[in-house]
Every structure is written in C-alpha cells, then in structure tokens.
C-alpha cells in the first residue's frame, strides 16, 4: 500500500521523522518497504486564473494567454498548449523562476509578443505521474476550483511529501488504511507515553450518525445468511450530477496516492484507502424492483462483471442480487449491468461487512484480484467503519455536490455482537514466553493497543477492539505481549534439553560420502534446476516425466527424470565460455509418474566432456574417455566396498556398443557409457559426452558393513602374462578364467595392456595381465607360483585358445 506522510499527519498528530516512523512501525510488524521523498524542485511557480486567450498574431501554433495572479497583479504568456480556456486555474512559472526539470524562466519574445513566463504541466512541476489521471497528464495541469489564485503552487498542491510503500502480513489487514496506520501510530505514542490507547487522538472524521434523510426514495435490503454478511448499508443518492472534483478533494486523493477516475469512483476509493472499508456504487435505476439481496448464488447463475467478462458462478458464491439476478460478486467486483454510467441519475453506495473466507473463495474461484477483495480477505472492521463510512460518504456527497443529498438509507443486519472476552492465564503466558511478567504488566501492555482487560488473580479477561479480527485465541494475545514489550527486549536463553546425539539418515550419510569421494577424484559438484522441458524428455526417448499443471515457462513444464539434462546444460554453459572440458556430478531427486502417483528417486549423475586433465609441461593433457568414466564409477564403488559389474547392455540415452549396465550382485545400480549423439545434440553438446547415472537409493541397499580382514605380512610374487586371443573375446572373460584357475593364493589381477594391430595377426588382440600371489602365513616359493601360472595358461589355452605371448617375472 502506498500512502504519503501528509495523509498520516492529517489523521493523527505525531512528531516522528519519516525514518523514525519506518523503524517504529517495523518494530510492531508493519514493514515500510521503501520511502521516497519528494521536494519542491521548482521556483516561482504560482496559481493563476486565465482571464483571456487570443491567437498569436504571427505564430499560428501559439496563443497568448492573459493571467490573473491575484495580489501579484496580471501577466501574460505565450503557450503552445491547447487545453487552456478562459476561467481555468493553472500553474505558471514567472521570469526568474525555474521548472522542476531544470528550465530557467525568462521573459521571451515570440515575434512581436512578449511572454512573461511559462504555463506548467505535471512534468515541469515534478509531480508523481502514477497518481495523476490521464486528463491531468495531458497538457497544462488544471487545478480545481478552490485553489487560491496568486498563491505559490506548493501551497496549493502537496508537492513536498514523503511517500511510503507499506507491506503488511496477511494478519495485519487492520493496518491497510490510513485509519489503521493512524491507530498503530497511536499505539506507538501510547507505549512511549505509557498511556492507554485513545481513539480520540485520531483526527479523521468518524461520524456515528447520518444527516437527516429525505424519504422519497425506496430501497430494500435483505441479508439471507447473516454469517456471511453481518451488516449491509445501502446509501441512496439522487440527482447525481457530473462535474470536476473540488481542488481540496483532488489534493487529498494525491496525498492518499489515489489516481482520480471519476467523482463516484474517487469517493469509493477514498473510503477504501482512508478507512479500509471497501464500498461499491450501483445504478439504482438498474436494480430490479429496487431491491438488494445478499445471498449465495444458485446453480447456473452467471454474471458479466465490470471488466466485461461473462463469468459462471460456482453455486454458493456470495453475491449481491436484485430481485432477479446477481448484480455483484460480494466484496470482489460489481456487475456491468448495474454499474454506474455517464447517464446514471441515482446511485446506491454499498457499505458492508462480508465474511473473509467467502470473499477469498469467490476471488480465487473467479481469478479476480481487486483491492476490495484483498481487504475483505484480510478482515475488515465490522464495527466502527461500517457505522462511520456512510456518514463520511454522505458528507463527501454534500461537499462535492455530487447529488442532491442523501435521500434514504437502507440497512440490514444486526449490530455486530461484541466478541466474548477471552480468559488468559498468566502462568501460561510466562510459560510460553520464558518471561516473568505479572498481570499488571500484561494489562498495561494490552492497554497500549486498546485491548480491554480485567485482572482476577492470575487470570486476565481480555476483549479486543472490533478492528482486531486477528485476536481470536490465547497465543495471539501472547504475540501482542511480545509485540508491546518489544520482540528484541525479550530474554534469550538456551533451552534445557535432554542429552541426545543428533542423527541423520543413512541416505544422507551416503550422499555426503559420495560427494566427498567424487570431489576427491577431481569432479565439481553442480546443482541444476529440477525442471525440464517435456518435449526434450520425449525426444530423448525417456518415459513421460511428471508434468506441472501450472508451469512458469514451457521450458520448465516437467520434472526431471534424469540428471543428464541439467548436467548437460551446465556443460554447455562452461564450454561456451571457452573451457575445453567439464567434469561434474550432481546428486539429487529425479521424478517419475505412474498413472496418478509420482515417485522420487535419489540419483547420482556424472558427466565428462572434453579435457579431463589439463596439459602441464611435465605431462600431456588427458581427454575424458569411457575408461576415465568407468574408472570413476569403479573407484567410488570400491571405496564404498560395493562389488560391481559393468556389463555391456543397451541402455536409455547411451550409444549402442558404448553402453553398459552397472550392477552389484543382483541389484542394478545404473548405467554408464557414451551419451547418444542425437541426445547430446538435443542438449547442445556436439562432442562425445560420457555419462553415468546411478541410483543412490539402490546403492544404499548394497553398502556392506566393513570388518577387518587379515592381510599377508609376507612378500608377494608378481607374474605378468600376455595372451593372444580372438578380438571378440572380452577382457573380463579372460580375467574370470585367470581368477578361477589361479588358486586361493592369487590376490590381484590387473590388466596392464590391451592392443590390436601392429605386428599382431588380423582379428587378434593381445591382453596383458599382472597377477600378484601372496600367502597369509608364509613366503611363497617361485616354483609353486610358476605351477599356478602354468595352470592359468593352460586354462586360457583350452577355454579361449589363448596363445601365451610372453611371461615376465
């Protein structure tokens, strides 16, 4: 909400600077988001009346304007403005003066005519264009009748002011008006002076009665459900006349930051902004049978709202109806058919109190957000304002000569019953806050806010003022105790808690371990958004991902089923910035949809592209490759003591022949391989990309407990062999044969070499293995190891026709 300091000063006396006010309101929970100071930046601008206008003798685009400056005499200026007529009240900058946009004013000749100044528009006066009407921004600014001719412009228009942008929490609906803010300023003053809250300090008119009404109109109001509308007052105005608002009214709107629309709308806006009471104007003659019925909508009912949209009403929506049809959605928006037009002769103003939930429901269901609905949802005052605003409106009508006068008031609804007092136990309050207040302290604190209380022993009986709809249960009163005592004045201490260790889930621990291992290997962790584009997922050939019903953009309309999209995006970003490699991982949730249910799985994605290790003057660069990726996966699993198999298999997202399944015993952990080139291209990666994705959830189920194993304290013996086999024989198969035949003393088998071509026969490859033999209880003899190696060699020859190429000791 935007409001100016002058509007607050008009409502209550206070001597805080704008900065002090912002800090003090902030301390009670009303945030001043921003503050903007407007200064008088022009000089020698006065209010003038146009006495005479005449065309310029030579310049046909100019006219000569004679001005009356009251006690300052007369003058004349030449102007190109077209909206200046005899009798207009306008601002003029005289020679020696200066405009807000920095133009120095001097006497100037326009052909034979001398011009003694310049007529001003809003821009030359530095006014706030956001709260001026389009007419006011078109050409020279017109001041309404009532501006004193000859006075300095800053006396006629509230230029010098501070505008506040105020933001309140949903429970602070009572602060969404000048009256509400004035009440909180009164609370601040009361607290500082240690005096009870006094509504009498509020200077805004709060009439409790209406002027005498001439009883020649006819309007009936019926409320069908009192729980949805506690009171409804219809104010009938007749002989409505069009015309400009008075100057005083206009400047008041400027202080309230209300942009003028029309006199009727301006009045309703004033009630909303100044009193926090939404009002609505109906065309009386368009209400069937001159009846107003507050009821809920019936099946099949519709309404064309003021914005011209035909809207079906959900049955049960709170509406205002005439004898035939709904004419407004209560508290949200009026209907077009019953709206005020240029030809309206009689107006009914609505002043009512609606149930916040009913308004909220209608506003949400219809998707209409209005200032009125915003206020009603947050709770308006069912007491004071409903009774005072009709008097305020009728006075405005009279002042502004809008209509003849108030001719009839129809009201319905019983007076709002005072809320029953609530009982507050002192021990409960202190036990909740960790404080040591006595009943008198609390009574005093409540007194600052106008909360009535009676003390009986250690119990307080409390009654809130009608505008504090947020006070309904004891913790809310406890909050008021803290608010008045000062949130920051309250004691702070460490709780007395039972000694207990904190724990985290095994999944969380595993994720931490994985991050630590991968970072140790040299990968950078990415965090990418969980959103993906559905089209991308479909094009990647993956099953449907969970879709958002209300995505922010089409690029983010689904939830990621894989980490590949995000990691590829991070890679593209880094490569496009001139890096020649990217090696990263991400751990997080992936999502899948099954009919109407959704699943989440924690996954690890690893992506390598381009250079894996930079070149150095000692070593050449190492490119990312499939065996770098496989090595990363194997190293991580080895460090977690998880046995793993990587078996060639066609997997989603990966190139055929360069795709493998990673599993541990009978559990599938994930996949690794070369990202399909079409998928890479789709994601913006034009080069070979190596990608692995493992399920952390699955991995968690396969983490073994670690226990000590006896290791050999005796030297081991190493034997290398190289076997020539057909090229299609997998290294893994050879390794399995070696493991099977090496006996229990064979401790490790390492592939140290694998090559084809060169001097080798076509269709053959050579694979070199290094075998390490050790015994836990003795030093092995070379001869016994030779026997074992022989049996390995024999097995290789028999099983795969392997020819021994060389043996190294």
């Amino acid at each position: 909400m935007r409001v100016k300091l002058s509007a607050l000063h008009a409502a209550i006396d206070f001597s805080y600077t704008p900065e002090e006010l912002a800090a003090k309101l902030g301390d009670v929970g009303i945030e001043i988001e921003s503050m903007e100071r407007a200064e008088v930046t022009f000089r020698d601008v006065f209010v003038a009346r146009v006495v005479h206008t005449a065309p310029h003798p030579t310049y046909h685009k100019l006219q000569r304007v004679d001005l009356d400056l009251g006690p300052r005499g007369t003058t004349s200026v030449c102007t190109a403005a077209t909206n200046v007529r005899e009798g207009d009240i306008i601002p003029v900058a005289i020679p020696g003066g200066r405009t807000a946009d920095g133009i120095d004013i001097a006497t100037r000749m326009f052909g034979p005519v001398e011009s003694f100044g310049m007529l001003c528009s809003w821009k030359e006066l530095g006014l706030d264009g956001d709260i001026l009407s389009s007419e006011e921004k078109d050409g020279i600014l017109h001041l309404g009748s009532g501006a004193i001719v000859g006075s300095p412009f800053q006396e006629a228009w509230p230029v010098e002011d501070t505008a506040f942008e105020i933001s309140v929490t949903p429970d602070r609906g009572d602060a969404l008006s000048v009256l509400g803010l004035a009440r909180w300023i009164e609370v601040l003053k009361a607290r500082e002076a240690d005096q009870p809250f006094d509504m009498g300090d509020i200077k805004l008119p709060l009439p409790s009665a209406l002027p005498h009404a001439r009883n020649d109109g006819d309007l009936t109001v019926t409320i069908e459900d009192q729980s949805l509308c506690s009171s409804y007052i219809g104010l009938l105005i007749q002989d409505v006349a069009s015309g400009l608002s008075s100057h005083a009214f206009r400047t008041q709107l400027y202080q309230l930051c209300i942009r003028p629309v029309s006199r009727i709308v301006d009045m309703t806006n004033l009630c909303l902004k100044q009193y926090g009471q939404p009002t609505h104007a109906f065309d009386y003659d368009r209400l069937q049978e001159h009846r107003i019925i507050v009821r809920t909508s019936l099946p099949g009912e519709t309404i064309v709202t003021l914005d011209g949209v035909l809207r079906p009403l959900e049955p049960g929506t709170l509406v205002i109806a005439d004898a035939a049809v709904p004419v407004a959605v209560a508290g949200v928006m009026g209907g077009l058919a019953s709206g005020v037009t240029a030809t309206t002769a009689r107006v009914v103003f609505e002043i009512a109190h609606f149930d916040p939930r009913a308004v909220a429901r209608a506003s949400r269901h219809l998707g209409i957000k209005t200032d009125a609905a915003y206020l009603y949802e947050r709770g308006t005052d069912p007491g004071l304002t409903v009774s005072a605003v009709p008097g305020v409106l009728s006075a405005l009508v009279r002042e502004q000569c809008l209509g003849s006068y108030v001719s009839r008031v129809a009201s319905a609804g019983i007076p709002v019953p005072a809320r029953p007092p609530l009982s507050l136990d002192l021990d409960r309050v202190n036990g909740y806050l960790g404080s040591d207040l006595d009943a008198k302290d609390i009574q005093r604190l409540f007194g600052y806010e106008g909360i009535a209380s009676r003390v009986t022993g250690t119990t307080l009986s409390v009654t809130p003022p009608s505008f504090r709809g947020d006070l309904t249960s004891w913790p809310e009163y406890v909050e008021e105790v803290v608010r008045m005592e000062g949130y920051n004045e309250f004691p702070s201490h460490a709780p007395t808690l039972v000694l207990r260790r904190g724990s985290e889930s095994p999944l969380k621990t595993l994720c931490k371990q994985l991050r630590q291992l991968l970072v140790g290997i040299g990968l950078v962790e990415s965090r990418t958004v969980s959103f993906v584009r559905e089209d991308t997922i479909t094009a990647m050939g993956l099953p449907a991902a969970p879709l958002l019903l209300n995505p922010l953009t089409v690029d983010w309309d689904a939830l990621r089923p894989t980490m590949a999209v995000g990691l590829a995006g991070a890679a593209v970003r880094n490569l496009s910035r001139g890096r020649d490699g990217f090696a990263s991982f991400e751990i997080g949730k992936t999502f899948s949809a099954h009919d109407q249910s959704f699943d989440e799985e924690t996954k690890l994605g690893v992506l390598l592209v381009g250079k894996w290790q930079d070149a150095n003057w000692t070593t050449p660069a190492v490119s990312a490759g499939i065996f770098v990726l496989k090595g990363i996966v194997e190293s991580v699993l080895r460090d977690l003591h998880v046995p793993c198999d990587v078996v060639s298999s066609n997997c989603a997202l990966l190139e055929t022949g360069a795709s493998a399944l990673v599993s541990s015993e009978t559990t599938t952990l994930g996949t690794l391989g070369i990202l399909r080139h079409d998928v890479g291209a789709l994601l913006g990666l034009e080069r070979d990309t190596f990608y692995a994705e493992l399920s952390v959830d699955a991995l968690l189920k396969n983490i073994p407990t670690v226990s000590f194993k006896e290791f050999s304290k005796f030297p081991s013996i190493r034997r290398d062999i190289a076997v020539l086999v057909d090229e299609y024989v997998a290294a893994g198969q050879l390794q399995a044969i070696i493991a099977e035949n090496g006996g229990p003393l064979l401790k490790t088998i390492v592939v140290f070499d694998s090559f084809q071509g060169g001097s080798l026969p076509t269709g053959k490859k050579s694979v070199g293995f290094s075998m390490e033999f050790a015994s836990p209880d003795r030093t092995l003899l070379g001869e016994e190891v030779d026997v074992l190696v022989s049996s390995v060699e024999d097995a290789l020859a028999i099983r795969v026709g392997g020819i021994l190429r060389r043996t190294r000791a």
Binding site: D27, G29, P170, D171, R357, A360, R361, E377, R378, G431, Y432, L433, G434, S435, S473, P475, V478, E479, Y487, F490, S492, A494, P495, T496, L497, L499, R500, G502, S503, E504, L507, K508, K512, R515, V519, I521, V524, E525, S526, R527, T528, S530, P546, L548, L552, W556, L559, G569, A570, N574, R577, R579, F582, K589, F591, F598, E600, Q613, N616, W617
Partner: protein, 334 residues
C-alpha cells in the same frame, strides 16, 4: 687486511671455510691472489727485502701462494660438487592435482547441518512432491486463506504439489514421533516466482523444530543465536521482529546484524545494520492439535531459513541465479 704470512694463511683459511657458494670463493680469490691481493702484495715485496733474508722470505711467500691457490681450488671443487647434484628451476609450475569442489550450497548446507547435529538435532527428510494436506492444511493454511498467496504453488495433480517450504517435514516427523522432537530438515522447495536476481522458482530451505515440555519463545532466540554464531561467527547477533506465518504464533522475522558492514550500514542491509534471514515462531496450536499432540503439555518453536540467502550474505553473492548456472568460475571460488 692481514699482512704477514701467518696472518694471511689464518685469515684465508677462515674465509674459505665460511664461504657458502662459488661466488664467495671467487671473491676471496681476488682479495688474496688478485693483482692487488694480499698474497700478490707480499710477492711484490720480495725484491725489497734485505739480501740475506730475501731467499728465505721468497720461498715462504711462494709456498703461501701455492697453498692459497690450492686451497681456493679445493674449496671451489667442494662447493661445486655439492651444488651440481641438482639444479632445479623452481619458477616452473608444479603439477597441479585435480581437485573437485562441492557446490557452495552443499558446503553451506553441510555447515548448517553440522551446527545442528552438534546441538543434538536430528536431520529429517521428506518428499519434494508433496500432498496439499502436508504443505498447507496441516500447517494451518486452509484453502482460501490469504497466506496461500504468499507461496504461489506448482501443482502436479489436484491435491499434489511441489512443496513450497520444508515445513511439511515437520508435520510428517511429528505424526511419526512423540516429543521430545529436535530436528532440522534441509531440501529443495519450489515457488512459482519469476526468475530475477533475488528469485528462482526453486530454492533450498533449512527448517528447524523443537517440541517438548516447557520450550519457550526465549529458547527460540537462544537456539537461533547459537545457529547464527555457528554459521556466521559469534560476533553476529540475532534480532526478532514481529511477523506472520500461519503455522506459528507468535511469529517472528529473524534478522542478523549485518556481517558485511559490521552493522555500520551498507547497501546489502539497506543501511539498517540488520539483514532479514527468515521466519520463526512458536508452533501454532492448530498445528500441534493436527498432529495429535496435547497442547496443554507440549509446546515448541520452529524456524525456516533459505540456504541461498545464508550463502549470499556470507559470501557477498548478489545474484541468486548464479547458484544454478554452475559456472566453474563461480563454483571454484568457494
């Protein structure tokens, strides 16, 4: 400068022993055997010595010269044999080992978690796709409550949404366990906010909850102070301001003294010396009742802060989007 044969011999011996490098020895060589050196000077003096002693003096001086030349050579040889074993150019760069990095948000998250683990808090988790009930109703945010506007929500199906905060984890934990409860939860949350320097539709939250007999508002302040001390350092203080969150009453906004300017006033704290970090308060009676706790026995507090916000304030990061760009120039800084 020594002048007699014995003096010269002693001095040169000392000088050579003290020499630490070749240059030093060469300097000594010049000082003693150079054109104006001490030994050379003596050699020149030979012709001036009385004839009866000239021969003996000449022999002694020549012996000195021979000895000196040999001693210098010896010392040079000793030094160079020691020096030449290595000749490393240390201006060449070392071979840098590949080092990875945890994401800055992970680092902050782990730091926050370790502070709370050390205070005996459990770390709880929950689903990111959440039921409307856990995200809203159970937290005292009924349908049609204006508070729902505070958290514009992504929906996947009627009643199913992306959690807008980590608070549903509170509800799930309370429904599963009996007090005392002392937990935090960290995780991704989603709100339908357009992307700008301070908003992303996805962010990370840390949520805390303590429920037991006699837990007070003063305890909330005490625990937040410990938390802030653990993450930002013990010189940073906590201030509470009135605020509203439907699931707490009294509700408070938590501010910390600005670590960037030391509370002197800077653009980050809008010259106020304080930075708002997140919400907190005493858990609302309706929330406790909803999970079946006896509100006449149990009470407690909750708080929820943004991990991104903590990281931004701690490291002076101005644009929240950077966290999800994964630019190595950014990630490698922390």
């Amino acid at each position: 400068m020594p002048s007699t044969i014995d003096e010269i011999r002693t001095a040169l011996e000392k000088r050579l022993t003290a020499a630490r490098d070749v240059q030093d020895v060469r300097n000594a060589q010049i000082e003693y055997l150079g054109k104006k050196g001490a030994v050379t000077t003596l050699l020149k003096q030979i012709s001036g010595v009385a004839e009866d002693k000239r021969r003996q003096f000449g022999e002694q001086v020549n012996a000195l010269k021979q000895w000196a030349a040999q001693a210098v050579e010896q010392r040079l040889s000793d030094l160079s044999s020691a020096e030449c074993r290595y000749d490393i150019d240390f201006s060449l760069p070392g071979q840098l080992m590949p080092t990875g990095k945890k994401h800055i948000l992970t680092q902050v998250e782990e730091e926050v978690e370790s502070v709370f683990l050390s205070m005996g808090f459990d770390i709880e988790e929950g689903p990111e796709i959440e039921q409307e009930y856990y995200n809203f109703e159970a937290l005292n945010i009924p349908a049609d409550h204006p508070a729902r506007d505070m958290q514009d929500t992504f929906y996947l199906a009627p009643g199913m949404l992306l959690r807008t905060h980590t608070s549903p984890i509170q509800v799930r934990t309370m429904k599963r366990e009996h007090p005392p409860i002392r937990m935090i939860a960290t995780g991704r949350c989603y709100r339908r906010d357009a992307v700008d320097a301070s908003h992303t539709p996805m962010f990370t939250q840390v949520e805390g909850l303590v429920i037991d007999k006699g837990i007070t508002f003063a305890d909330l302040k005490g625990v937040l102070q410990e938390f802030v001390g653990g993450v930002f350092g013990s010189s940073i203080s906590v201030k509470l301001l009135p605020s509203f969150f439907p699931f707490v009453e009294p509700g408070a906004e938590t501010a910390i003294s600005c670590p960037i300017c030391g509370s002197k006033g800077c653009p980050t704290c809008k010259n106020s010396g304080w930075i708002e970090m997140g919400g907190s308060g005493m858990v609302h009676q309706n929330v406790l009742r909803e999970v079946g706790y006896d509100t006449s026995i149990y009470q407690g507090f909750a708080f929820g802060w943004g991990i991104e916000r903590i990281a931004m304030i701690k490291y002076g990061i101005r644009d929240i989007r950077m966290f999800y760009d994964n630019d190595l120039d950014f990630l490698s800084q922390f």
